[in-house]
């Protein structure tokens, strides 16, 4: 669902870049608070009272922060790798994982937004997958809608569906469909194509791709559920 440059109008692209930058910087500022601990460097003093240095305060990466960064980097690698694996869906179409719900369930929604955005940035800069001007739109669709909205869908579904892994599957499916609706709306706003033409086509295709998303999300969350330190108790 990587939008290339040219599909969206300048106004749409610009507003989505703003939204993406705002959301990602908010996520970074919130997430970094948990990563650092204030550490006091003790003053060197003799029993007679002579002091050779003053008390300094520095922040260092906590054990939690280090561990979390490794987890985030691992999930980012996994999402990148899995996005290369296009699986065929009906009549000459393929789809791949978006990974938003997967990352959010394992890492937390804001951490997941950072992870998905990082993957999208690398895909655009090194692989030309998804446009450069459209990067904001792609972060909005797959990062904000597919991840944050997908995650809160999971939280909602979790209250209704008692079987935890089933709600992961449903949320994964829903996140792809929601992201495809967001993409369709952006295309329609940019006058690229009429909304009543693009919505049915996009939703129909992505309802199929979403099944793949749901299965992969289900499988990985099932595999990882015994890990300690997952953000959501699964």
């Amino acid at each position: 669902m990587h939008i290339p440059d040219g599909f969206l109008g300048p106004n749409t692209s610009a507003s989505l870049i703003t939204a993406a930058v705002a959301a990602v910087s908010f996520a970074v500022s919130r997430v970094k608070r948990k990563f650092f601990v204030k550490k006091e460097i003790l003053a060197l003093a003799t029993p007679e009272g002579a002091q050779f240095s003053t008390v300094k305060k520095t922040s260092v990466l906590s054990g939690y922060g280090k561990d979390k960064l490794l987890r985030m980097a691992t999930i980012a690698s996994f999402v990148f790798a899995t996005q290369m694996l296009n699986f065929p869906v009906a009549n000459g179409t393929s789809g791949h994982l978006l990974g938003g719900v997967l990352a959010a369930v394992l890492l937390g929604p804001l951490e997941a937004l950072i992870v998905i955005s990082a993957v999208l940035v690398i895909q655009s800069i090194f692989f030309a997958d998804g446009g450069l001007v459209a990067l904001g739109a792609n972060i909005f669709n797959m990062g904000i809608i597919g991840t944050i909205a997908g995650f809160y869908c999971y939280k909602g579904i979790r209250k209704i569906v008692k079987f935890k892994l089933l709600s992961v599957f449903i949320a994964g499916w829903l996140s792809v469909v929601l992201a495809s609706i967001a993409t369709s709306l952006e295309l329609a706003i940019s006058n690229t194509i009429a909304l009543n033409l693009v919505i049915p086509a996009m939703v129909k295709t992505h309802a199929l791709i979403g099944i793949g998303e749901g299965i992969i999300t289900f499988a990985i969350v099932w595999y990882m559920q015994k890990e300690k330190g997952n953000e959501q108790k699964i």
Binding site: G6, V28, F78, V89, V121, F127, A128, D129, E227
Partner: protein, 93 residues
Amino acid sequence: MNRRYKILLLVSILSASVVSLFASSSPDGLEKVAEDKGFIVKALNYPSKVLMPDYELNIFGNDYLAVAFAGMIGTIIVFAFVYFALRPIAIKK
């Protein structure tokens, strides 16, 4: 780090370099809709040259190796980007 995360990292590198050779090359959902509805012509080329266009890094003149290397290097770049780039950003003033 926990054991299952290490395994997941290994699986990522393997799937990006080996399993990716068997990935479907059909257009993805958005591309297919764009082709069917005729707005694919609006797509512009990427504004600059990139290192690995179409997920291929052609250094050995072999198509399979090109995809395998692009996948492997991409996975490592993504890992390093998240692990290292976030540190200076996250340092508290």
